[in-house]
Symmetry: C2
Subunit: 196 residues, 2 copies
């Protein structure tokens, strides 16, 4: 059974999922799929938090409570919004193709949420890439290539086609579960609709 | 121990909480507090669903899944958005003062989500009021009075002062839990921070 884990690197709540998920959980395989949510949000004319102080204050408090509940360290608020989240998404996508993507994503989120280094910018990119044994110059050239940009657009279009509008979203076939707090529901759905 | 259950009658997810909550759950008392969320949303320049088709489609699917999980009947989508939710909020507030408010709120939501009668408009108002033994003409005059309008504004200002921006929100002192899916967290918080 497979669950697609759709996420964007600039998302705050996705920190909780990134730190909890591995590639497999028992009989479930998680396919990590970075996409550039900002394109979809701009088309919706929607800003999740940055222009809504009450909602943003709640979000940080909620992330803090849930991180504590899961035993995940967090130094909050982290720098937000991340101005260059697109670079982080491109690097994550390159990493998924080369096999070090999940480790990079975890490193980038740790550096953002535990050390205060904004994701997608320096020094987060170089620190996180070196942590996973990659040469920043090589990877950043690959990430910024036309091919990788085109692939990120394709993945984002696929997310939009599925009806995705937020991160993280867990997709079990056509069934969407939006939010880190829906992970258990997605797993239960995958198990109860096996082969359906 | 007390949890304030802040809700607005035009909210879709609040259906789940309204159908699950009673006045008490064990050692917890729930104080039902209607407010007019629309004022806060307009100040935030935020439309939760109506101008966002992907998010609205997800919301109905999510409400349907969760209603089924709780064993709550639902004929979806219900008419949305409710054009006269302010009238429903005023009637609910009047009912909370006179003691039939919770029963009215449940009736209005049942008529909206099970019979397709838009909340805040006719015939929902008259049907729901008669179901709880109230004379629609008397109650609607009371609900539309300057005093009740002023009280609804006061309650809405109190919600805003607490940092509330959505419905339902469960408040345990200054700690907020937004969303029907945070009810268990709010109860756990109230119990673990008793007297704190």
């Amino acid at each position: 059974m497979q669950i697609d884990f759709w996420f964007t690197m600039g998302s705050t709540y996705s920190y909780l999922s990134v730190m909890r998920l591995r590639e497999r959980a028992g009989d479930i395989t998680f396919r990590w799929r970075p996409f550039h949510l900002l394109i979809i949000l701009q088309e919706m004319n929607h800003v999740p938090f940055a222009d809504k102080p009450a909602k943003m204050a709640y979000m940080w408090r909620d992330v803090a409570r849930r991180a504590e509940m899961y035993g995940i360290p967090a130094k909050l608020p982290a720098p937000y919004p991340a101005k260059q989240s697109i670079v982080a998404n491109l690097v994550a996508l390159a990493g998924m193709q080369e096999g070090w993507g999940m480790d990079f994503v975890r490193a980038a989120y740790r550096n953002w949420f535990q050390r205060g280094e904004e994701t997608g910018s320096e020094p987060n990119l170089s620190h996180s890439l070196r942590e996973v044994g990659q040469d920043p110059a090589r990877v950043l050239a690959l990430a910024e290539s036309a091919a990788m940009r085109s692939l990120l657009v394709q993945e984002t279009e696929e997310a939009k086609r599925l009806g995705i509008f937020g991160s993280p979203t867990f997709a079990v076939g056509r069934e969407l579960f939006w939010g880190d707090d829906r992970l258990d529901d997605a797993i239960a759905w995958a198990r109860s609709h096996r082969g359906a």
